[in-house]
């Protein structure tokens, strides 16, 4: 029965993904002294992947744009910090409850999504981000306002997870689960409904898809995943403040999804990898290189390169990194009989 359900899909990638995720930290430890720095970057990537995969379900699959995802992340982070450190709940409990609370906020944001779409929805969600920031500052008693909150490390069944090495396994276990889960969602009835809504709301409704239900559900899932990434961020970084979740971060998430290729789970993963690595590894190197040649003020280069990458991707590669990969794969599959016009 189960075999029958899954035999249409190639599942080889799952063990490959798990194997790769398990091996990378050991390989890094072997290769470089500064492995802790790279593992920290990987942890950030893992946390962001959880969010961008969720954002991709919302924006890429259901076609609902959100410019306020950093706010859902903030809700997850602050809720968990308060539940664990102030209410004394176990981390494992908060790991489930906090994302659900963030999801409920997503559900609420789903209401305006029933009426507004496109740019207006983007602005609504952005406004939501500002409201959450004000709310965090106003609820000073619990959140300590703008001063920020110290958060305890995750404690799982009596074991405290501390340090980048241990965090890596926690973050990436959840990231892999989220990737697998998201793949299952998009292959299911829910995923098909999301895509139908994205392609034509009228046609979807005519086929019997409950628009309100699925739109709100997509916000709920997406908000929950952003909340989960917030929980992980709070407990692995041990400090959160309103500055951690500024509106620029929401825009970064959208860039990650677009560069990777909206509407593909792997695209979100690739886009996140690409943008975070670009930001932390390649741009600084390039900056030092260019600094010796031209007198460009450091710091200015980053925004320039980001803008350029976005610009080039949207014009030349609208299907993103994943689209690029698919094209390459088809090219080699058909080689040498590939029709020329297809790839020009």
């Amino acid at each position: 029965m189960i075999k029958g359900r899954y035999d249409d899909e190639n599942l080889k990638w799952i063990p490959l993904l798990i194997g790769l995720v398990l091996l990378i930290p050991f390989a890094l430890k072997g290769m470089t002294f500064s492995y802790k720095y790279y593992i920290y970057i990987l942890n950030t990537i893992g946390i962001y992947i959880i969010l961008t995969v969720g954002l991709d379900l919302l924006s890429g699959y259901a076609g609902l744009i959100s410019l306020g995802h950093a706010a859902f992340m903030a809700i997850g982070a602050y809720t968990s910090a308060i539940l664990v450190d102030q209410a004394g709940l176990p981390f494992m409990f908060s790991l489930i409850l906090s994302p659900l609370i963030a999801g409920c906020f997503g559900f609420i944001i789903g209401f305006p999504a029933l009426r507004v779409s496109g740019m207006y929805l983007g602005l609504t969600t952005m406004g939501f981000g500002f409201i959450i920031r004000r709310l965090i500052i106003a609820l000073r008693e619990w959140t300590q306002g703008s001063a920020g909150l110290v958060v305890s490390p995750p404690n799982i069944f009596g074991f405290t997870i501390k340090g980048d090495w241990a965090n890596y396994f926690l973050v990436w276990t959840l990231a892999v689960l989220v990737i697998i889960g998201a793949r299952r969602i998009v292959k299911s009835k829910i995923g098909r409904a999301f895509m139908a809504i994205r392609d034509s709301e009228q046609a979807a409704e005519a086929s019997g898809i409950n628009l309100a239900k699925y739109k709100m559900f997509s916000f709920f899932i997406s908000g929950s995943l952003a909340g989960l990434s917030g929980v992980l961020m709070a407990h692995t970084n041990h400090f959160i403040s309103t500055d951690h979740f500024d509106s620029m971060l929401s825009i970064y998430f959208i860039i990650m999804v677009l560069v990777g290729g909206a509407g593909t789970v792997y695209g979100a993963v690739l886009g996140t990898l690409f943008i975070v690595l670009l930001d932390n590894l390649f741009v600084p190197e390039l900056e030092t290189l260019l600094h010796t040649m031209f007198s460009i003020e450091s710091g200015e280069m980053e925004s320039f390169i980001f803008g350029l990458v976005m610009f080039l991707f949207i014009i030349f590669q609208p299907t993103g990194l994943y689209g690029m990969w698919l094209k390459m794969r088809i090219y080699w599959k058909l080689f040498p009989f590939n029709p020329k016009q297809r790839f020009t």
């Binding site: 500064s34 720095y37 001063a147 970084n237």
Partner: protein, 389 residues
């Protein structure tokens, strides 16, 4: 599958080659000490991000030209974190793990520094002169406090001193505060609330968002509340706009400011609206006749520092560099991070940095607790009080 196995085996081999820990004192070689600094080079405070390290490098160059510290030259790496705590964590991680710096210095911003506390504790790396005057820096009950050596008087203490002063010059003063609603403002509010409780007064509070350029609402509310003394917890542009807005509205309270508003550009840009503005300062004026300001101006002249760059923030980088160099001297000929911390903890009323005397010991990293008040008179900044605690 075979290819996959080959990849897996080669990666595993790589990991087995992995070898032991880092050298005993990271960042220290025979002739160099590597220092890590995190600034905002492209975010909301990017102006300061360029000026502060320039001031520090002015002094480091002077020391290096004169033989360095125990024969080692000082080299400073500056990372950009856009005043964002998350990016600061990444930058500090990079400085510690990848660049292997000996110690951290001048990391800018309250929440960025708060965010790196776990890293300081993990790597046992000292942070000398964080570029924030938040009172939380000297709070020894906070995590990693033993690694942080603040050089400035906390914003909370400054706010209390200003309120005390306002009440001293005018018994019936009605006080208001316009504050930036971030970590900086939060710390100012703490001082205000303490004063309210202590003196049994109510202070009118109005907030603004970082980067705001319109303060008409806040000024109007201060006017409605009948405030005679208004404390501004902003940086440079905010006091200028607030005072100009008030002047345009025909409202003329005594404006006062927390130390970041002490920059001489305030007096230059505010013009007549800024006349009489009082600000707190934790150092002698950079253009005064004290020894360190004199040396500062001499070196600026020698290095052809543009006049627009000179001023309180450039001087801040300069004077905190003196504190760091003194700490490195006290860490001995074979410095380690622990020795630097012990060295810093021998500061006892030390006043060689051109700021107020500093004291650190194992149980108290308070550093400084006093300010002088500076007033703009005829467009020129003049000290009007001695050190007040």
């Amino acid at each position: 599958m075979k290819r996959l196995m080959t990849i897996i085996i080669s990666i595993t081999m790589f990991s087995l080659i992995g070898c032991g820990g880092a050298a005993e004192s990271p960042g220290v070689t025979e002739n160099e000490i590597l220092i890590g600094n995190v600034q905002d080079l492209s975010g909301p405070m990017k102006e300061l991000g360029k000026i502060l390290p320039a001031g520090s490098n002015l002094y480091f160059d002077y020391i290096n030209d004169n033989g360095g510290v125990h024969g080692r030259k000082i080299r400073m790496l500056v990372e950009d974190a856009q005043y964002n705590p998350q990016k600061t964590v990444v930058a500090v991680k990079k400085l510690i793990e990848k660049e292997q710096v000996f110690c951290l210095y001048n990391v800018i911003g309250t929440s960025p520094v708060e965010a790196v506390r776990p890293l300081l504790a993990e790597s046992e790396i000292p942070l000398i002169a964080p570029a924030t005057q938040s009172g939380t820096m000297s709070d020894m009950s906070r995590p990693a406090a033993e690694y942080i050596f603040p050089t400035d008087t906390g914003y909370d203490i400054q706010a209390s001193i200003l309120i005390d002063y306002a009440k001293e010059i005018d018994e019936n003063a009605v006080i208001g505060v316009i504050y930036q609603d971030d970590d900086y403002g939060e710390n100012v509010l703490k001082g205000v609330e303490e004063s309210e409780a202590e003196m049994g007064i109510t202070v009118q509070k109005e907030s603004f968002q970082r980067g705001a350029t319109d303060f008409a609402g806040q000024v109007m509310n201060m006017m409605k509340g009948g405030c005679t003394h208004v404390i501004i917890a902003g940086i440079v542009k905010e006091p200028i706009i607030i005072m100009k807005t008030a002047e345009a509205m025909g409202y003329a309270p005594q404006f006062m400011g927390i130390s970041p508003t002490m920059d001489h550009r305030v007096s230059l840009a505010a013009g007549t609206a800024g006349e009489g503005f009082i600000s707190a300062n934790f150092a002698p004026l950079w253009n005064s006749d004290d020894n360190v300001p004199k040396l500062y101006r001499e070196l600026c002249e020698k290095a052809d520092v543009p006049e627009a760059m000179m001023g309180m923030y450039h001087y801040y980088g300069f004077s905190t560099a003196i504190v760091l160099v003194e700490g490195l001297r006290r860490a001995g000929k074979k410095p380690t991070r622990k020795k630097l911390i012990r060295g810093m903890e021998t500061f006892n009323n030390w006043d060689g940095a051109g700021i107020q005397p500093l004291t650190y010991n194992r149980n108290d990293h308070g550093g400084a607790e006093a300010v002088t008040l500076i007033q703009i008179k005829d467009g020129i900044q003049l000290p009007i009080t001695d050190w007040i605690k």
